[in-house]
Symmetry: C2
Subunit: 334 residues, 2 copies
């Protein structure tokens, strides 16, 4: 019978009494540091087992300022990109010995600010933060706690991100190399630098070596807005670069329904490599964001800072997106 709300949860003191030792010995035995005789330790541990002693992280935090946990704060778990990222960050964090948890800010700045306050108040040892926009809503509550910002860039914070300018050029390069000369572009919402950069990078190269058939913007959605559909239908592009996979998938769907074949009639290149990008028809060629490395770097920076205290300069890591060629881009029709 699991539920037993009546009795109090056993404390270290209970343990000490049960085992007939002092508080200190109990503490030492339980968390393996300090010095206790092998005998006593075993005895204490078995007593702990017997009474179901659990340990109280919160109390430890007040005393030591360390909880052994890291928080990941993200804008929207409902966007398929974030669960993958979260998984990688979690793994890296756990491998480094931390308990990991996540909080979703649902794209709301007040909520983001509250979330940050909550986790810092709870006593996490560090936070991995993927801000909603390139804006610091922390109101100072991160001032004294190791933090690394993902993807966005906020002055004063450690940062690990992607070189989107370069990634945009890689995207354009791929299309151009396949022989395309009239290339259309569908960007996502441009209120964040990461989106603006990937588009800017692509556009620059396209205008240098080919021709920009159109450039339109669409929400993060499979559903295309009217002007986007129109551009696709009448823009005369032989290839289109969609700066987010969801949009790319939407474009493929639209094109297919309009009777055009992808990639025979028009090529589509995405960005992000979200789960499912490899499962579409045709499988989507796209630029992969190195989530695993991002997670690893973020945790590396954090452990360094958690351990070393307020170490020197802020770290700025830029990783490269990588082209993954599948079947949604081909040479233009003759």
């Amino acid at each position: 019978m699991p539920r037993d709300p009546g009795s109090r949860r056993p404390t270290l003191k209970d343990l000490a009494r049960e085992a007939g030792v002092s508080l200190a010995s109990a503490s030492y035995a339980v968390n393996g540091n300090g010095s206790v005789g092998e005998q006593t330790r075993a005895h204490i541990l078995s007593a702990a087992e017997r009474i179901g002693y659990r340990g109280n992280v919160a109390a430890r935090v007040t005393r030591t300022g360390r909880s052994g946990t890291l928080a990941l704060v993200v804008p929207d778990m409902t966007n398929p990109f974030f669960p993958s990222l979260a998984q990688m960050v979690f793994r890296a964090g756990r491998d480094a010995g931390f308990g990991m948890f996540l909080v979703d800010t649902e794209g709301s700045e007040p909520l983001e600010q509250k979330a940050l306050a909550m986790v810092t108040g709870l006593g996490v040892d560090g936070v991995v933060w993927f801000p909603i926009r390139d804006k610091d809503t922390s109101a100072g509550c991160l001032d004294r706690i190791p933090t690394v910002v993902l993807d966005r860039t906020l002055p004063g914070y450690d940062h690990v991100g992607v070189d989107y300018l370069a990634a945009g050029r890689i995207a354009a390069r791929h299309l151009i190399d396949r022989g395309h000369r009239r290339i259309g572009m569908i960007s996502g919402p441009c209120d964040v630098a990461s989106m603006r950069d990937r588009c800017a990078g692509a556009q620059a190269l396209i205008e240098e070596e080919a021709e920009l058939a159109f450039r339109v913007e669409n929400a993060f959605s499979l559903d295309l807005e009217p002007q986007v559909a129109a551009a696709l239908d009448g823009g005369g592009a032989t290839a289109v670069f969609a700066a987010a996979d969801v949009i790319a998938l939407g474009a493929i769907r639209h094109l297919t329904r309009a009777g055009k074949r992808v990639p025979e009639d028009v090529s589509v290149l995405g960005f992000d490599d979200i789960p499912g990008a490899d499962q579409s028809t045709p499988p989507l060629s796209t630029l992969e964001i190195p989530v695993a490395e991002i997670g690893q770097h973020a945790i590396d920076i954090l452990v360094r800072n958690v351990a070393g205290g307020a170490g020197g300069a802020t770290s700025l890591v830029q990783l490269d997106a990588q082209l993954v060629v599948r079947e949604s881009v081909a040479a233009p029709p003759l």
Copy 2:
């Protein structure tokens, strides 16, 4: 400049000194209860603002045993069903005034047990738990903390779930009503009761009123295993019930590639109504799990228990899945 790791984070004591009042008054002013003069309160609050006082949840927890937070523990954020559920639980929880956070157990029982220990140790006021399987891995660490188990059923815990037996019958009924007499079934992994029940419910009705063309099992994946593909190709079913949307989507893809039209040649009915089910071609008919209500009920139970202490009997809530008719099922070909 946000980073300022040098100075110590201001405490209540700092606040009290800065405002020239006692610890108690500072505490009262900050959390709005107790009795403080309107003047003093304002004065203290402005002082708090000035020195950037934040409050330390961990410390409050040791003293009061209340953190104002709830944890949601789920098996796999990477499964598109969970982010939707999480969102609903989070909203309900926040509406009830709690800070919400999530931990992912990645389908690993040892991890699940650690996760549970971590959140209870951190001092959450309650936990919403979607266990990996119908198995209690908590090792007693939830004994004294309000917990509600989602979807699985674990003896002794409050529970909110879905009547999957009934839901399975609804699925079969729909297919039969559309005129199908040879119905195939693809179940997901049957190691959980929720899956077994939805299949059992459907199968019972099918065998009563029609004929079960085949019953095979597939992993939670768009990719179909060989024997599943074979059943689909040669089973002679005019309709198939896939007990999970991912599998249903995989079935549609397989059928389409094999040159069969859905739903003209064969109908496909899914289960879950994951995000994207409405975006497939054709849009998937499926059974919708009432995530919003699940979340709301879970939170309701929790707030009741957090407030009322160890109230009476355990609550058992069963909700109904609802058929959502889209375009993937039609009458069988003549």
